[in-house]
């Protein structure tokens, strides 16, 4: 989403690479995130959430009562929500008309004691947003999912970071048991996928966001590339040092993909964003000689699943079923 763009333009880097859980002391709760130490005297109770996967992650930990404000999420309409989460979403006050956090003054007026988002673009002063420092000073430490602290760190983001994030959120909110249960469940799903696709030939996959020239697609660095690999696929653009970028039509045609993943973020009210079908048709027109085109083998992936949050692991399962249907009978 916009965060990708703004991330690319962002000059500030956060420094450290791997945040890890700090030992819990008797009173103060501390965790590391994006090179900062977040300290809490007690679990936060006035939380503001950013782009949808950050809300989803807290809901999965049963923290809906702690959330006092959320951004808007219109992608893919009612189908865009994870099962059972629409009701919680509807019950939480909406403080922004977009997927971004509200502007600085509105944001600070929320009086939040914890802010969670994936990426940095909702904290970019150039966009009129409250910065991480300003929020911290105002008593609202910022938690960034997926270690998307800077453009460089976004390229190095891993699926395993999801578990580190969940564990840290468990510590912050004092719900370690729920966090560990969710982690165990997600890891079991990943292990199941790994077992099922093991030994099967890797399917050559192109993950795209459409275009007739150049084609927007996911390269060999970042989250999507790892999701493809874990689902038993092989990213045809794996050799490139890019996450989300513009690729030559020549390369896309020569890559000869066997299957296409299309990032889907149609906004429900009909405005904006071309449909996944349209984007797939465009890209298969470029790769017209590929098996993916002749078999029309396409899976739409919700954009929210391509961002840090536990949904990316659910998406890996869907991708594996799509790439290796025989492994799931």
């Amino acid at each position: 989403m916009r965060r990708l763009l703004v991330l690319a333009l962002l000059l500030t880097a956060c420094g450290q690479t791997t945040p890890a859980a700090a030992p819990v002391e008797q009173k103060a709760i501390t965790v590391q995130n994006c090179g900062r130490t977040l300290t809490f005297d007690q679990p936060p109770a006035k939380v503001v959430t950013g782009y949808q996967p950050s809300l989803e992650t807290l809901l999965a930990l049963g923290l809906q009562d702690k959330i006092v404000g959320r951004t808007a999420f219109e992608e893919n309409g009612p189908d865009g929500f994870l099962p059972g989460q629409k009701a919680f979403y509807d019950a939480i006050p909406q403080i922004s008309e977009t997927i971004m956090l509200p502007q600085k003054e509105v944001m600070l007026a929320q009086g939040a004691d914890f802010v969670i988002d994936n990426g940095q673009s909702s904290f970019d002063p150039a966009g009129g947003y409250a910065t991480v420092d300003e929020l911290q000073t105002a008593g609202a430490p910022v938690f960034v999912l997926g270690n998307w602290c800077s453009p460089e760190e976004t390229l190095k983001s891993t699926v395993e970071q999801t578990f580190i994030d969940l564990r840290n959120l468990g510590i912050v909110f004092g719900v370690q048991d729920r966090a560990e249960k969710l982690i165990a469940d997600l890891q079991a799903q990943l292990a199941d996928v790994e077992k099922r696709v093991a030994g099967r030939p890797k399917v050559k996959v192109l993950a795209t966001d459409g275009g007739t020239g150049p084609v927007t697609a996911y390269g060999g660095a970042g989250l999507m590339n790892q999701m493809i690999a874990k689902a038993g696929g092989e990213n045809v653009l794996a050799a490139t040092q890019a996450d989300y970028s513009e690729f030559s039509v020549e390369q896309v045609a020569a890559a000869n993909p066997e299957a296409l993943l299309v990032i889907d973020y149609v906004v429900y009210d009909g405005k904006a964003a071309p449909t996944a079908d349209k984007k797939a048709a465009d890209v298969l027109g470029v790769a017209k000689n590929s098996p993916a085109a002749t078999e029309k083998r396409v899976l739409p992936i919700p954009a929210a699943a391509a961002h840090p949050g536990y949904r990316n692991i659910l998406a890996i399962v869907e991708m594996a079923k799509f790439l290796h249907p025989d492994a799931f009978v």
Partner: protein, 354 residues
């Protein structure tokens, strides 16, 4: 020698003699041919030279070569590279000739196809389709919306800059610049409001110019409009020279200045609309290539216009090759590359002249 030509020849040039002009034309024509040969031969994916030109030969003369290449190689060379190379020539020549004409027309060395607000009008149309969706604009395609935006800008600039049906150069420039900023403000607002940052990234890429969408089926319109437009502009050297010497001189030489300005304004705007619609907003070429041409052959438009056309065509061809190979398989936007390659070349020419 007319007054205008005398005035023109008073300006110093690197190559003044007729024979040198012929040499420059010959060299530039060779550069156009060579750069186009290169554009078809190399790309993000390596295709052997024999395959490349076997494919082209077999397409031009079916059956002349027994295919020894793969369908994907044929697709890359014939469907992607060749139309893109031809579009690069057309757009490069078009931007440069239009730039040269506009600089003479408004008597302003900083004039270029984008100064008059036309490119930002086109960009506004394109951004609206990208971000709001085709349905918001009655199902217009991106190209059609961009062209519509260019036409809208053209009409607005004309209405604002004319007085009693006569275009006034200073008003033309100021109205154009003001509209440019207005359009830029509107499309920046649309972009900032966009829910989807991915769309914004794609728009930004497009706004910086790209020939990546070139296909055979989209070539006819630019070929006809730019081909006819450039050909017509090329033979306007006489009134342009007269105008360069001053409005009074031009009038005394029998040029109806008001009518000529209006005619040139429309005839340069239409190609700009078509170019922005097909390849986005490519900066630098229209502004700098005419100056480079003047540094090479002097200020006489009889020489400046053809030299601009050839120089612009060869230059954009080389720039596009760089845009798609430097960071392959990722592509760079053209405006990033035009200045990186063009500015040092232009500064070298400038130093040489001094």
């Amino acid at each position: 020698m007319t007054v205008a030509q005398k005035a023109a020849s008073q300006r110093v040039s690197v190559f003044r003699r007729r024979s040198t002009f012929g040499l420059v034309l010959g060299l530039l024509a060779a550069a156009v041919v060579f750069s186009t040969w290169l554009a078809v031969s190399i790309g993000a994916v390596q295709v052997g030279l024999a395959e490349c030109w076997g494919i082209v030969a077999n397409r031009l003369f079916p059956g002349s070569v027994t295919p020894f290449w793969t369908p994907v190689q044929e697709q890359i060379v014939w469907d992607f590279r060749l139309p893109r190379a031809l579009l690069a020539l057309l757009v490069g020549a078009g931007l440069s000739v239009v730039g040269a004409v506009l600089q003479a027309l408004v008597r302003n060395p900083l004039a270029d196809p984008f100064l008059l607000g036309i490119s930002s009008g086109a960009s506004l149309g394109a951004v609206a389709v990208f971000v709001l969706g085709a349905s918001a604009l009655g199902g217009l395609s991106l190209s059609a919306a961009a062209f519509g935006g260019a036409l809208l800008a053209l009409v607005l600039v004309y209405v604002l800059a004319q007085r009693g049906g006569r275009l006034i150069p200073s008003r033309l420039v100021l109205a154009g610049v003001a509209l440019h900023f207005l359009f830029q403000a509107i499309y920046s607002y649309i972009l900032q409001q966009a829910q989807s940052g991915r769309a914004a990234q794609q728009v930004l890429f497009w706004l910086l110019g790209s020939l990546g969408g070139a296909r055979w089926e989209m070539l006819p319109i630019p070929a006809i409009v730019l081909g006819a437009g450039v050909a017509y502009l090329l033979v306007q050297h006489r009134p342009l020279n007269a105008l360069a010497a001053g409005e009074d001189t031009a009038t005394s030489l029998g040029v109806n200045v008001g009518a000529f300005r209006l005619q040139m304004f429309v005839l340069t705007s239409l190609p700009v609309g078509v170019m922005v619609a097909t390849s986005g907003a490519i900066a630098f070429v229209g502004l700098m290539v005419p100056h480079a041409a003047r540094l090479l052959v002097g200020a006489d438009h009889r020489r400046v216009l053809p030299v601009s056309a050839l120089l612009g065509a060869a230059f954009l061809q080389l720039v596009d090759i760089a845009a798609r190979t430097v960071d392959a398989p990722q592509e760079l936007a053209l405006t990033i590359v035009t200045a990186v390659f063009g500015a040092p070349f232009f500064l070298w020419l400038l130093r040489r002249r001094a």
